[in-house]
Amino acid sequence: MPVEVWDIRPALAPMVSFVCALLVFIGGSRAGWRRFWSMSAALLKFIIVASMLPGTVGGVAYTFRFAEFAPGIGIGFRADALGMAFATVSSLLWVVATVYSIGYMKGERSLGRFFGFFALCVSATVALALAENLLTLFIFYEVLTISAYPLVVHDETPEALRAGRTYFTYTLTGGGVILLGIAMTYVVSDGVLAFGHNGIVPPDTTPAVLAILFVMLTLGFGVKAAIMPLHGWLPRAMVAPTPVSALLHAVAVVKAGAFGVVRTVHDVFGVELLRQTWLPDALAYLAAFTIIAASVMALLQDNLKRRLAYSTVSQLSYVLLGIALLNPWAAVAAVVHIANQAVQKVTMFFAAGAIQRTTGKTNISEMSGIGRRMPATMGAFGVAALGFTGMPLLAGFISKWHMSVGGFDSGMWWVALVMAASALLNAAYWFPMLYLAFFKPVSEEPTLGEARPSLLYPTLVCAVLVILLGLVSDLPGMPLSIARTAVAQAFGM
């Protein structure tokens, strides 16, 4: 069990971007200020989160609680390893995404609104990552839901509005279910909602209640984690500007759902309790189904961002599958995949956005020879694609390897098969695109036309991160080490 230390930083981290959001709303009409606030807040926040990393790895949980409206019900923050894994990734990627979106959104309208809600989203994400109890988690989860809506509909086209509507329908319904679940948990656990004790739900709960509770919480969070068949909103939300897609798909919104499921399994029910039920198995099968089915769907897409969306659906279920296996190896895979998938997918989205901004192309079939024109961008894309196919020394391999080993360890050999199939499907939908981009014979040689630096460099930084996450993921403070700390805590090792 981690050592609890009272510290303001867990609360400070979300606060920074919240304040930034306010400042941008107020003074956001001026580009200079907007940029200044966004950038400095992003950096500051990353510094704050990073400053807690040594403690986290060393087994310290920084805690800060400041409001309690009812016994056991209050707002509180606690930076344990699991939360820090998520918070680190999202605050780091926010820095990169801010640079990128400044470049990407240049010349668009209502940028004050855009950057304000962008900051708000990140604030909510970090807050829910560091939430100390289920209620705090839920509150910021809903804040995230709502603050992401203006970003989805940013273009204000009919299509965007429709997508926003769908998004809202799905996520708010899911939120409602979660709320019910929390209420029920509250009842069942006699007023305890705080994490950190390997389970809130008492072991003597009847199986039926346990089942209902589990279904409500996992499906509620599952909506955002886009587990099939609740994934419908995600591909449609692709109408949003690319930095938003990157943030939504890779970091904030969908990961919030997956993170919620992880919290549910590890901290609401506890590994020991769930091991005696069939519930995690059901979740595992559903996740495995999603991994394969969404990959097949991705294969059918021609629009690059839609293919990315389905790929996300598939990849998110890695997290769910890993957590549902209730095996330390697989759990490490789940937690570390939150970071790995985020970085890889952000790279791809950034590349897609760069292509869209530079050439106006959104469909894969139009992208013949794009790699010759934008070698660096597509090179970064290629690195991420290879990562997704599980090439060793890249981020994705770490997840796949841990997952496979976990599968074998827990006697579920089919997990390795699912991993292999998923790797093959990933290859099947990314490699043809790389072929189109780099090797398809085109009649005339396109001149070099890379994206502008503010789009290119964040993409390259992310690609480098993909390599680093595969190569030195085990260094202290890197995702694998944090994930191992988190899992060790959850499994009581």
Partner: protein, 504 residues
């Protein structure tokens, strides 16, 4: 076993890193000075070869070294280790690659995508060097996947429809094989908790037999795709003719061999010979390899496309290596390991000759080769010698492999496989000698005579294409004639086999 105190000083590391650096450098290919670019890029394979030679010297002197670069995961390091087998393979790769690089300079002179070719070629080299010096299964897989996937770019390089189809087929096979490998690796890791290569294997005696079977089959099948074991060889015959000739040479010479090298590692250092023998997988593997050796050689006889014929020959030759590795005794393993090196030299030269003929005379089929030896005397002389070597005619390299393999088979009590070995060699004569015969004795077609410049000394090909061919032929001869020497490939292979299979 000494662990290098300062890993930055390890030649193994630099043998891997330099090609990577060259790959980065060749991204700027178009901006490099026209004359200097080949010198710049060529430094990498040559330097790798030098480092590999240093490592070989070290191994012969009895030192072995191991470095751990980074910890990838708990208990899993990116680690390099130089043992005799790895040193031998590394040296073969780097030397062959140096020659291939020189050849490719001439071959790709008018190619507008030469830069792309060199980038991926250097990546492949880095991968292969990494495979040679990998200290554990994960590192091995990492570098193996690196060069496997990067090879795609080289196979598809010419962009013709057959190249595209061949490359697509290749990547499907390789991706599937890679998945099997990761599964098998994960299974072995889950059973043993360690990924390091260890003499005698990492699977302990308490491993459940099903797990051991699963791991062995998955890993062997995974490498078998690359090693072109029947029925996983489907990509070979398409990929070789489609790829540019220098890369066909590399593909056949060392890449397919990397698959067999993987099988050697799996058999002796991951699953362990003991487990294989208990599970009787060794016998199955030997049977499959024997069948592959003969059937592929039979098929090669009727191929008209020269590179395709050579590709089937590769399938057949690689099966010898697998066969030698699967007999679980030092003798045949020595033969297998030395054949990796010998085959690289012989087949590399044959493919380079085929490439030279294709590029300078537009000849890709055996039936078009009538009388070509008069126009390409040096090339065909090299081709003939390499072909004779491949058949196993003494005193060239191939004979050494056949002798050591055959001798080892008898020693290992598997003398029955001599029939396969010698039958395959006889079939090699049947599919290679007609090529030579046609080239020297066949009637040239009038059309071709008209289109080719008349034969004059120095008119045959650019020196950069001819020199590697001649050099490889010389090496083939040397590998045979000087096999007795201390420090020869054979002595190194003996050392390797002793350490791999000796401590059974």
């Amino acid at each position: 076993m000494s662990v290098h105190s300062n890993s930055l000083l390890s030649p193994a590391l630099w043998a891997v890193l330099l090609p990577l650096a060259a790959a980065c450098l060749s991204l700027l290919y178009g901006r490099l000075p026209r004359r200097g670019r080949f010198l710049l890029l060529g430094t990498a394979p040559v330097a790798s070869a030098l480092f590999a030679a240093i490592l070989v010297r070290g191994v012969l002197a009895g030192s072995s070294h191991e470095i751990r670069l980074v910890r990838l995961m708990p208990d899993v390091y990116l680690s390099l280790r130089v043992d005799a087998a790895g040193a031998l393979f590394g040296l073969s790769v780097a030397v062959l690659w140096s020659f291939i690089f020189v050849f490719s300079v001439g071959y790709l002179r008018d190619d507008r995508y030469a830069g792309r070719y060199h980038t991926f070629s250097m990546l492949c080299l880095a991968g292969l060097m990494g495979v040679a010096y990998a200290g554990d299964l994960i590192t091995f897989l990492a570098f193996y996947e690196l060069f496997s996937i990067m090879s795609y770019a080289l196979i598809v390089h010419e962009g013709t429809s057959s190249a595209i189809a061949a490359a697509r087929k290749y990547i499907v096979y390789i991706a599937a094989g890679g998945s099997l490998l990761v599964m098998g690796g994960a299974l072995a890791f889950s059973a043993s908790g360690a990924a390091d290569f260890a003499a005698g294997g990492v699977l302990g005696p308490g491993t459940p037999p099903t797990t051991a079977t699963g791991a062995a089959l998955l890993l062997i099948a995974g490498f078998g795709v690359k090693a072109a074991l029947f029925p996983l060889h489907g990509w070979v015959a398409d990929a070789h003719p489609a790829a540019p000739a220098p890369f066909s040479a590399a593909l056949s010479g060392v890449m397919v061999a990397a698959g067999t090298f993987g099988i050697v590692r799996v058999v002796y250092e991951v699953v362990g010979a003991r487990w294989l023998a208990v599970l009787a997988i060794d016998r199955g593997l030997a049977a499959v390899a024997a069948f592959t050796a003969i059937s592929a050689a039979v098929v090669a006889i009727k191929q008209d496309d020269l590179k395709r014929r050579l590709a089937y020959s590769t399938v057949s030759q690689m099966a010898y290596i697998t066969l030698g590795a699967s007999l679980l005794a030092p003798g045949p393993l020595t033969g297998a390991l030395v054949h990796i090196t010998n085959h690289a030299s012989m087949k590399g030269c044959l493919f380079l000759c085929a490439g030279l003929l294709a590029r300078n005379a537009g000849i890709t089929r055996v039936s078009q080769m009538g009388g070509i030896a008069r126009r390409f005397p040096v090339t065909m002389a090299a081709f003939t010698l390499s072909a004779l070597a491949l058949i196993g005619i003494p005193p060239l390299a191939g004979f050494v492999s056949k002798w050591v393999l055959g001798y080892g088979m008898l020693d290992a009590g598997a003398g029955g496989y001599l029939v396969v070995l010698l039958g395959g060699a006889a079939l090699a004569a049947v599919y290679l000698l007609p090529v030579v015969r046609i080239a020297y004795l066949g009637e040239p077609s009038e059309e071709r005579e008209g289109s080719l410049a008349p034969a004059r000394p120095g008119n045959e090909a650019a020196p950069s294409m001819l020199a590697p061919i001649v050099a490889l032929t010389a090496i083939t001869a040397l590998l045979g004639i000087a096999a007795f020497a201390d420090g020869s490939a054979l002595s190194l292979a003996r050392l390797a086999a002793e350490s791999l299979a000796g401590s059974r």
